[in-house]
């Protein structure tokens, strides 16, 4: 079942009177329970594509579908609601908040939903990624791999359909990267989510169910 799709997506940037076409008509989709990697050289439009799939940006042309719904013309506030409930993000440099503990960082996306206490799920997720004994640690007390696991738990707190990962192993050594990828693979099945990962990392490709290659804004 397709959870997210781009149909003939075009993204143009205007810089200094010049028009740069970062994406030149991309058709892409991701299914529940699969991990898709997007690979390609720098500047090929990978990040732009991830931003469109993650509803962080809107295409200049084309359509974005989430669970079959056309969300292309959603307002920023509507997109925020969709991101909150449907999409989880994992970043290359983790982006945890330094003044929050591991479990608070995991709860962050649901923190303002005061009617709904997610602390139990946060603890559960941290246990599942092997950090049951690090709940009250702050990010600076955690290693790189542990931080990325906290970030993965944060991405899953609101039970999303899609997890987007931008170079998730980029700041980790090979062994740690491998454990993170094992973790993602397991969670993909447990939670029945689609994972879209942008990477240079050949290792990550081994874990992928499917691989798409982006060159000069076009899928090969």
């Amino acid at each position: 079942m397709t959870v997210v799709a781009l149909e003939n997506a075009v993204k143009r940037y205007h810089t200094g009177g010049e028009v740069i076409e970062a994406l030149a008509g991309v058709d892409f989709h991701a299914e529940r329970g699969e991990m898709v990697t997007v690979i390609g050289p720098s500047g090929s439009g990978k990040s732009t594509m991830l931003n469109l799939v993650g509803l962080l940006d809107t295409p200049s042309e084309g359509v974005v579908r989430l669970d079959g719904r056309d969300v292309t013309d959603f307002s920023e506030d509507e997109l925020t609601e969709e991101r909150r409930s449907e999409i989880g993000f994992v970043f290359q440099s983790f982006h945890l908040l330094p003044m929050l503990t591991a479990s608070e960082n995991v709860e962050l996306p649901s923190m303002w939903d005061t009617a709904r206490d997610r602390s139990d799920r946060a603890v559960d997720l941290l246990r599942r990624v092997g950090l049951g004994d690090r709940l009250e640690h702050t990010p600076e007390e955690l290693s790189g791999g542990q931080k990325q696991r906290v970030a993965i738990a944060r991405a899953l707190i609101n039970e999303p359909d899609i997890l987007l990962a931008d170079e998730p192993t980029g700041n980790l050594d090979q062994d740690t990267g491998r454990t993170i990828l094992d973790e993602l693979t397991r969670l993909k099945q447990d939670e029945n989510i689609a994972i879209v990962a942008v990477t240079h990392d050949e290792q990550l490709v081994e874990y992928a169910d499917r691989e798409v290659r982006l060159v000069d804004g076009v899928l090969q």
Binding site: D77, L108, W112, T114
Partner: protein, 381 residues
């Protein structure tokens, strides 16, 4: 999580704001210090104004309460008559009415020292004079009262005789100058001592306060002075007090203005601090927005940071101003506890209110800017 942490997490913006401020304590402390100085400037200048005004009012107090009546330009007599005194008494009801006859004389001491004094003949001296030593002047029938300054100069003590118009009067009391004009050198005698004067030179009516004094003035005006006729001349310094009050109101406003300038400077500092900290955290705020934190929630979080700076600065500033106020009242009025009267305390409220308002206003732009940054732009840092 404990109950308390559960409870505080009901207000995530506030918790996040508090933690964010804790990340750079020096910067937070300096921004708060700016606010503290602003609050102290506003509140202690305000309190100083109140203290000055209260002091001036106390000094003028007895003058403002008294209404003095003397013979008017259209009067047939060169003084106030007994009939007029009776009429005044019937008009003012409760307030003491003290008819006076005045003259002057030169008193001399045994060793030849001389002092020129004004002589006042009164019936009920207690309404006008406060005795600092000696008998109550309640019924001044035979003795005299002398102002302390003159008594000291001439070496006259209680019980000593003074001579006026060929008669001797025993000094029964030493009175303090009432602070009025020409006070300080005065001999007070029974009215009978000035019996050769047919009319009263003046009649003093002692009202309870300045407002009542002014009521009496208008009643007397309508009773005695019809049209342009001035049967009696009425003097009251309540209007002087009003002028003094209005002067101090202006002064207070000017002082508050000066204080407000420092708070404006402080709020510019807050604006700068908030702007810098949101620019530094741009990527982080981008992450918040990416994971689904709403614009309004980011806005509230940053406004809460600004509000914290204002509240902390306001509380510390108000406490410091209270201390300053205690010192000001101790120095000006000799009674530090006067600062706890509402007239002064209200300035602590103003200072605090201004601090919170100024901080919130300063936080508004950085908060709005951070909340409306496109997440995709913000994530790039």
């Amino acid at each position: 999580m404990s109950r308390i942490t559960d409870l505080v997490w009901r207000f995530p913006s506030v918790v996040m704001a508090w933690r964010n401020l804790g990340r750079n304590r020096v910067r937070t402390a300096l921004a708060t210090l700016g606010i503290v100085i602003g609050v102290v400037a506003i509140a202690s200048l305000g309190i100083a104004g109140v203290a000055l005004q209260q002091q001036a009012t106390t000094d003028l107090g007895s003058l403002a309460n008294e209404v003095t009546v003397s013979s008017g330009t259209d009067s047939d007599t060169d003084g106030v008559t007994d009939e007029q005194v009776d009429a005044i008494r019937s008009v003012v009801a409760d307030a003491p009415v003290v008819p006076e006859k005045t003259n002057s004389t030169t008193l001399s001491s045994r060793d030849g020292e001389e002092a020129f004094v004004s002589v006042t003949g009164v019936t009920n001296a207690d309404a006008l004079y406060t005795v600092s030593a000696g008998d109550s002047p309640e019924r001044l029938r035979s003795g005299a009262l002398l102002t302390n300054e003159t008594a000291r100069r001439l070496g006259i003590e209680l019980g000593d005789p003074v001579s006026y118009d060929g008669r001797l009067y025993r000094v029964r009391g030493i009175v303090e100058s009432d602070g009025g004009f020409g006070g300080g050198r005065e001999l007070v005698l029974p009215i009978a001592a000035l019996n050769d004067q047919d009319y009263y030179d003046s009649v003093t009516i002692v009202a309870a306060n300045g407002d009542e004094a002014q009521d009496i003035v208008s009643t007397l005006e309508s009773r005695f002075n019809e049209g342009d006729d001035e049967e009696i001349s009425i003097t009251n310094f309540a209007s002087v007090q009003e002028n003094v009050n209005s002067f101090f109101d202006t002064l207070n406003l000017a002082l508050l203005g000066i204080g407000a300038i420092s708070l404006v400077v402080a709020s510019v500092a807050i604006l700068n601090v908030m702007l810098m900290s949101t620019i530094e955290r741009r990527g982080e705020i981008g992450v918040l927005r990416a994971v689904g934190i709403r614009r309004g929630e980011v806005l509230r979080m940053i406004l809460a940071e600004a509000a914290f700076l204002g509240v902390i600065g306001g509380v510390v500033g108000a406490a410091a101003s209270l201390g300053t106020g205690l010192v000001i009242f101790e120095v000006l009025a000799g009674d530090p506890t006067l600062v706890f009267e509402w007239a002064s305390l209200q300035y602590l409220g103003y200072g605090f209110g201004f601090a919170v308002t100024a901080s919130l206003l300063s936080g508004l732009y950085p908060a709005w800017k951070a909340a409306n940054d496109l997440p995709v732009e913000a994530l790039r840092g």
